[in-house]
């Protein structure tokens, strides 16, 4: 199975890179860009075939290593 993990800084924490991207988009003439949040995207190929177990495994990976929940939040999608 394949898991897709998205990690971003928590809402309310300044994301300096997202802010810089928003400013650059404005300079390029894209109007109406109100906010940009930048994050990480991680794909994981898993041997596990049970959907529920795969998700639980990836959630555990996020809690232990992939995200730092002091300042980041994450979402997990599992497919395949």
């Amino acid at each position: 199975m394949r898991a897709r993990v998205r990690i971003t800084l928590k809402d309310g924490i300044l994301d300096p890179q997202g802010k810089a991207i928003a400013q650059a988009l404005g300079r390029l003439g894209f109007e109406g860009v109100e906010a940009v949040r930048q994050g990480k995207y991680i794909e994981i190929e898993l041997a596990e075939t049970n959907h529920v177990k795969a998700r639980a495994q990836v959630e555990d990976m996020c809690a232990q290593l992939l995200a730092n929940t002091v300042m980041e939040e994450y979402s997990v999608e599992v497919d395949g």
Binding site: I13, L14, P16, K40, L65, N68, V70
Partner: protein, 230 residues
Amino acid sequence: MNLGVIVFPGSNCDRDVQVALSPRQSGGEPSMIWHRENTLPALDLIVLPGGYSYGDYLRSGAMAAHSPVMRAVVEAAQAGIPILAICNGFQIAAEAGLVPGGLIANENRKFICRDVDLRVENSDSRFTSGYQNGQIVRYPIAHHDGNYYADEETLNRLEGEGQIAFRYCSADGAVTDADNPNGSSRNIAGVFNQSRNVLALMPHPERAADSRLGGCDGHALFDALLASLS
């Protein structure tokens, strides 16, 4: 006295801190301990040095926090062994849960390398007892991810428990946004764990420990620390 400096792939202040500690202790040089060790010898002090462990992959300090040696370091911290975590060492210590909070990218998105003024917030520790509360000291900073973050509840607890060691300040000690180089919450530059046997700070006392190299304000930290161990 047995002092140990943990060396990760990408550490680059390990020797600096070894030198800063060496002339002041009688028991020989601090030993350099490779991060793949599973156990530690009996140590009186552990240093997590600055650098770019694992190329800052994933997050600064995240990979190093899971190095084999870190299990033993966390156990040592829980047993009360003093731990000094500098710059990348702070990032590693935060990722390993040795101190509260975490370090994110500097607010201005730049690597900042310059001397800063720091106000000593709590001199009641083995690390800071060589200073007076409110004293201004000057150490260099050299980091991209030094923006200290913790939620409001944690910050209030740190204040209440005397766990803030240093704050970025002006030359006369004012703690203002203008003197906050990286956007850190409440200008925090260094924190203790609750029992104050762990000090984690972004500025580099070991780079302020030689008069030929820009200042000696770090001497008082190393002198007090080593005196507390002997």
